[in-house]
Symmetry: C2
């Protein structure tokens, strides 16, 4: 029923591999900045902190971009991964919630340098409207739809308290946003076709605490 894209790669890459591609991309960028033109799977795997066999298998899903007996051309591979992920183009992003975390996200230079552009900061607190953060004006949450349509925003970031995160997500979906990065400690339910990724700071600490406790008990 759904026709495949005309000419592009129709193979689908395993989720675990997709999660590692950005790591490889970063490692390749580092190597490139050091002036290194070529690297083996062993070297790249070391820089990325993974097994070299895994790295090769991951890259094999993209195609055969290496040369046996030689390795990979750093810049060429970097471009191929960037193209596959989709960060050769620029993605407009909306951040909702200008608390401490929203502030930090807006100022995070890593977004800009990796293909993401924060086009709007929204907050329900009207005392903060007009304020400028990281060169972007804070606007009313009600402006969401207008911003999404005019900029063609597909990705939204939720940095509000848990209580409001559900409403924000619903509004985002209603406006046509199809990818959400949720920093609020809440479980969002969204319709099919919308991707949600969750980053929960205290959960990460709790996982560490569990292992820490086990280490302590093992003495």
């Amino acid at each position: 029923m759904t026709a495949r894209s005309s000419s592009e790669t129709a193979r689908d890459i395993p989720e675990a591999t997709v999660a590692r591609l950005p790591v490889y991309l970063r490692a390749l960028t580092s190597l490139s900045e050091e002036g290194i033109r070529t690297c083996s799977s062993e070297e790249l795997a070391g820089a990325a902190g993974v097994n070299s066999a895994k790295l090769r298998k991951d890259l094999s899903y993209l195609g055969s971009y290496g040369t046996r007996g030689v390795g990979y051309d750093v810049d060429y591979l970097r471009y191929q991964i960037a193209r596959e992920i989709g960060v050769t183009q620029d993605w407009p992003v909306v951040i909702v919630g200008i608390g401490n975390l929203g502030h930090a996200l807006a100022n995070y230079s890593g977004f800009r340098s990796r293909g993401f552009r924060v086009v709007a900061l929204l907050d329900a607190d009207e005392t903060r409207h007009g304020e400028e953060v990281a060169g972007v004006e804070v606007r009313a949450f009600e402006d969401l739809e207008e911003i999404v349509t005019t900029h063609g925003v597909a990705i939204g970031v939720i940095a509000t308290p848990a209580a409001s995160s559900h409403d924000v997500a619903d509004r985002m979906v209603a406006c046509g946003i199809t990818s959400i990065l949720n920093f609020a400690p809440s479980v969002l339910s969204v319709p099919n076709g919308v991707d949600v990724r969750k980053v929960d700071l205290s959960i990460e600490l709790q996982i560490l605490a569990y292992h820490e406790q086990r280490k302590a008990n093992a003495v």
Copy 2:
């Protein structure tokens, strides 16, 4: 060689389950605050956003804390999970790097309410020493060892730029920290016995971008 803890549970819980326990814990806390005393695996699974069979299997690793035909006692189960994770006690935590992100982390109330206490904020920039953030004084990075030993800190958070993250991690390990939460976009290599978890904001966005691109191509 390594003797198991005398009386405590020696079974080891699958990593995937450990990662979900904090989610269940949060869901249970919500239910408890709503005054709900008992819940079925179906209800709890719904609140946590997982399959009920998976939930029951996860809980079975902890023991048999439910009652067939009835369900789970909310507060009892909550305590059991908290005890298993280790958040019935208080974990002292050190944060290094008081940029935007470190600032946000220091102010994040979710840590305090979930068993973590920020005992120190460290930064290499001495112009910030003495400044007070979230009720904690910013101190010199050199004070790390003294703080770790006096407070018995086992968990460290790295919120520095990538370039300094490696040095910070090495110093943390040298001081006796055995669990690190790394927000810097870098791959840390640490000795055996030290756990590292990584949170990378731009990687999350890149994963979303990949799926977004595929959605666009599928039209």
